[in-house]
Amino acid sequence: MQLTNRSKQVADTKMTWLERIYLPGIFKGMMITLSHAFKKAPTIQYPEQKRPIAPLYRGQHVLKRDDAGAERCTACGLCAVACPAEAITMVAEERAKGDEKLYREEKYASSYEINMLRCIFCGLCEEACPKEAIFLTDRIVPSTFQRRDFIYGKDKLVEKMDQRIDVSLRQTNNLAEFKKNTSFAHNKTS
Amino acid sequence: MNEIIIVAGLGILTLLAEIFNFKKILMPVIIAGLVVALVVAVLELQGSYFNTTFDASVLGMLDFDRFATCFVVLLTTIALLWVLINYNYFVDESNKADHLALILFAIVGGYCMVSYSNFVMLFLGIEILSIPMYVLAGSKKNSLRSNEASLKYFLMGSFATGILLFGIALLYGSVGSFDVYIIRAKTTSADFVMTPMFTVGIIMLLSAMSFKASSAPFHFWAPDVYSGSPTSVTSFMATFVKTSAIAAFLRLFYTALPFVPETFSRIFLILIIASLFIGNIIAVFQINAKRLLAYSSISHVGFMLIAVLFFADPRGIQALYFYVAAYSITTLAAFMVVKIVGEQSDGDENIFAFNGLVKRNPLLAGTLTIALLSMAGIPPLSGFFAKYNMLFIALNHGYFWLVIIAILASLVGVYYYFKIIIAMFTGVSSSSVPIKITLTQKVLLLILTLLIIGMGLNGYVLEMI
């Protein structure tokens, strides 16, 4: 069964004398390597140069706040259910008096963790989220030395008020349209 | 020199046989080659051909005088007989070519040892002979005994080589040459003073040479090595190697240092007496036939050294030549039988293996009996004439007590030789299966027997040299 056209038929033929002394073969090989010396190196100097990334690139998650700065997440758990890698865990809690500024809903996630080593960056959490709370961004999850550092808590996931993260870059028009639909509860302003 | 070329060529041919796969016809070729070497040597002996083919530079190192040529004839004969006797040994041997090549190279070494006229050749000859022997002693690779024999032989042999070399160096230091004739001229000149260095050198040379000839008290290796090595190899050691060593020993004085045996006669006497007694007395307690023959060979060296001591006697060299010849042929015969019998009893060469041999194969028993009687010095076998000559020479020089000692020692010798004879004739063997031997073996046994009987009765060998 021929799968590609690049396969080569191998035959156990006896080598000729010239082949057996190997020198021409070696010479040929040397020339091949040498010829590569004159090719342009395709290296990209990373920190300085960056490759363009795909518009749909799915990188590190972010838990969005609403415009007032309250966390959108209501700890419904849909994202955790949707996660095929079971990377998301959370603990829900009732909003205390006086915290209305902090949490948009009456219920909130007192702890929200994503294990970045398990996460496969499929984006299903994003799709499952009814409150437009979790989004995947184009940021790269940085490497660290310890395993535990890859379990991202709210400290790393929730966006800082002074460094708002623009998630619109990856949002397709369809999605934007869909999310603008006010018939859904989450788009209602309180 | 011609023989050296022929045999060395044969050796290389043997190695080529492994590559080009003509191992089947190897044995006949080698036998033919050895026969040619023998014929050439005999022709050289008669002075008719081949004598002037090499120029003086060759002769500066090797001197094929009558002494050398005679010993070459003897050595070639021994080698030829050995190869014939051990024909079977090589037939079913997977390393046939290796073995044969080693043996042939060893023969070259032997030639060098009997014909050297420069110490370089003596040294090289000894080594060329020894190195194949070290290997062959261990050629039964899975046998611990063979390994041990090889290692012991090797260590002891190298040690002796070291001593030999130091002796040569000291000799050189006091004389200033390696050439035997120059040494002779210098040492026999009137103004030669024996310095301590010269003396020490001579003593070291003597020790090393007596080691190679396995004379007591430098004999420790011999019994172990003889009994541990494969029987064929042992027979080569006991005949060819010993002949070469003794010839080299004698040649040392014959060519280079004619006055030494007289001056150092006390050392010689110690060697002789120690060999005679240690060899004979320890042999009495042996139950392994090969070990027994090893000790007996030590005692024979004692006899041979008598001739070395008195080599200046008009019959000294003749007597030694005859002794060595008789001893070698006899030993070949004895070992041939020991080997055949040993094979029958799964490599066990105890004396009990010979029990009732006369019923199992009268020819073997007969040959061994004749050989042992000859070794014991019973007339009219060749061994008698050999010993007779030695006693004669000793008496000639007034060493009456030495003769008495030799006689007493050889009486002890009779005891252990007869132990085997008695075992053969009266012992009850564990198996009564007749031992089958091939026609070639029969013929060889007969030839050897005739040689043992005939050599003494015929003055040819004695007067050859």
Binding site: - | R315, Q318, V358, L373, I378, P379, P380, F384, F385, Y388, N389, L391, F392, L395, N396, V403, I404, I407, S410, L411, V414, Y415, F418, I421, I422, F425, T426, L457, G459, L462, E463
Partner: protein, 481 residues
């Protein structure tokens, strides 16, 4: 020519014997030995006609570098022993008829080779050749004893071998010493004689004692006899016969031919010692023979006694002594072979040779007792038997040397009579024992054997000149020389 023919005849018959099937070995051996006998008789004839005949001498260049030639010659003294050997050998072979012999081929070959070697010893006139045959004679008898001997033979035969070898090795040294003193470096007997005479007293003494050691062990003379009784008892009958009948004479012959003329000074100096030894040997052996319980051992000891007397006679160095020795050697050979055959017959029929277990054989087998009687009387030197002449002459010779020695030596006759008659009495007379009841009658060959022996005993006893004449001239020559 004769010597070599005599030497080779047994060898040839041995070869023929080897080639033929073993069932007829006995007959072939017999034929061969009889042929030898005829040859020796023919030689005797030649000797009588012309003692200087060239045919009696054989000389061939051999090991010239060793100074040795193959030289043999036959004179009267030799002739006696040749005769003895060649007469005894057919008899010894005859004694095997009606006996089962294991491996007959080898057995008879050994015997014939032995015969050849013995003849060589007697005829050799070259030192080295003599020595070689001397040793060569040892080999066949050793193997005969070793292979066909009785219980414990390994040790006993070995002792025998070592003893004799020791002696002969010393003889070799003596020969070499003599050889070195010869003028023209030769082993020829006359050169050796000359050399021996030219040597100093001390050298002669060494040579003398070395030779004597070899001969004394072979004969044997006290105190070198310890190998002998055991070996005689242990060897097969034929071996014993060879040993006692012929081999023993090698020693005495050696004394006459090789020792006495070789070193006269030493002989005259030491003959006294030797004769004393011999006389001791006579008395000692006789006394021991008296207390023997085994008949074979008894004969062995008697043999020592007889030989002792012969030795003493020889060393008296008188014509009578030497003549007597020769006659007695012949006579003893015949008698002792007869006695051993008697012993063999008894052993075969009664199954034992212990004297006390036997008795009354005469009542069972009268003819056997008769044969035994005559042989026994011959052995104790009754007048009209062959030994009488010998012993008489011997004692005469010794008497001329020293009367006391003769007197003590003469005891041997009396003591001999004592032990022989006593043993005859207890074996042949008296009551039959369980062992002797079934004593079978003699076979034809046995009768033949005994009759030949008895005839020789009688003839030589009655007409000793037969033997005396052969050697008389040569003995005189030797004494005068």
């Amino acid at each position: 020519m004769f010597p070599i023919i005599l030497l080779l005849l047994p060898v040839v018959s041995a070869l023929v014997l080897l080639a033929l099937p073993s069932s007829i070995s006995k007959k072939v051996a017999m034929g061969g030995s009889i042929l030898s006998l005829f040859a020796v008789l023919f030689t005797l004839n030649t000797l009588r006609i012309d003692a200087a005949s060239a045919n009696l001498v054989f000389n061939k260049i051999w090991l010239s570098s060793l100074g040795s030639n193959l030289s043999f010659s036959i004179d009267g003294i030799t002739m006696v022993l040749l005769l003895l050997t060649n007469i005894l050998l057919p008899l010894i072979i005859l004694s095997t008829f009606n006996r089962e012999i294991n491996k007959p081929k080898a057995y008879f070959t050994m015997m014939l080779l032995m015969q050849s070697a013995l003849l060589g010893v007697f005829m050799a006139t070259d030192g080295l050749v003599f020595y070689i045959f001397w040793e060569l004679a040892l080999i066949p008898i050793y193997f005969i004893c070793l292979f066909w001997g009785g219980e414990g033979r390994q040790r006993i035969t070995f002792k025998f071998f070592i003893y004799t070898l020791l002696g002969s090795l010393f003889m070799l040294v003596a020969l070499i010493i003599l050889y070195q003193h010869t003028l023209n470096h030769s082993f020829a007997i006359n050169d050796l004689y000359a050399a021996g005479k030219s040597m100093t007293m001390e050298q002669q003494a060494w040579v003398f004692w070395f030779f004597f050691l070899a001969f004394a062990i072979k004969m044997p003379v006290f105190p070198f006899h310890t190998w002998q009784p055991d070996t005689y008892t242990n060897a097969p009958t034929q071996g014993t016969m060879l040993l006692s009948g012929i081999m023993l004479k090698m020693g005495t012959y050696g004394l006459i031919r090789w020792l006495l003329p070789m070193v006269p000074a030493a002989v005259s100096a030491y003959s006294n010692t030797v004769i004393i030894l011999s006389v001791i040997s006579v008395v000692y052996a006789s006394c021991i023979a008296i207390v023997q319980t085994n008949f074979k051992r008894l004969i062995a000891y008697s043999s020592i006694a007889h030989v002792g007397l012969i030795c003493a006679g020889i060393f008296s160095y008188k014509a009578e002594g030497i003549q007597g020795a020769l006659v007695q050697m012949f006579a003893h050979g015949i008698n002792v072979v007869g006695l051993f055959f008697v012993c063999d017959v008894i052993q075969r029929n009664a199954g034992t040779d212990t004297i006390s277990n036997l008795g009354g054989i005469r009542t069972v087998n009268q003819r056997f007792a008769f044969w035994f009687l005559i042989i026994m009387l011959g052995s104790i030197a009754l007048p009209l038997t062959n030994s009488f002449v010998g012993e008489f002459l011997l004692l005469n010779g010794i008497y001329q040397y020293n009367a006391w020695y003769a007197a003590i030596g003469g005891l041997s006759v009396i003591l001999g009579a004592v032990y022989m008659l006593r043993s005859y009495q207890s074996m042949m007379l008296g009551n039959t024992s369980s062992n002797t009841l079934t004593f079978a009658s003699l076979k034809k060959s046995e009768t033949l054997f005994f009759s030949v022996i008895v005839i020789i005993i009688m003839v030589c006893g009655v007409y000793p000149k037969l033997i005396l004449d052969i050697a008389a001239l040569d003995v005189l020559k030797m004494i005068v020389h």
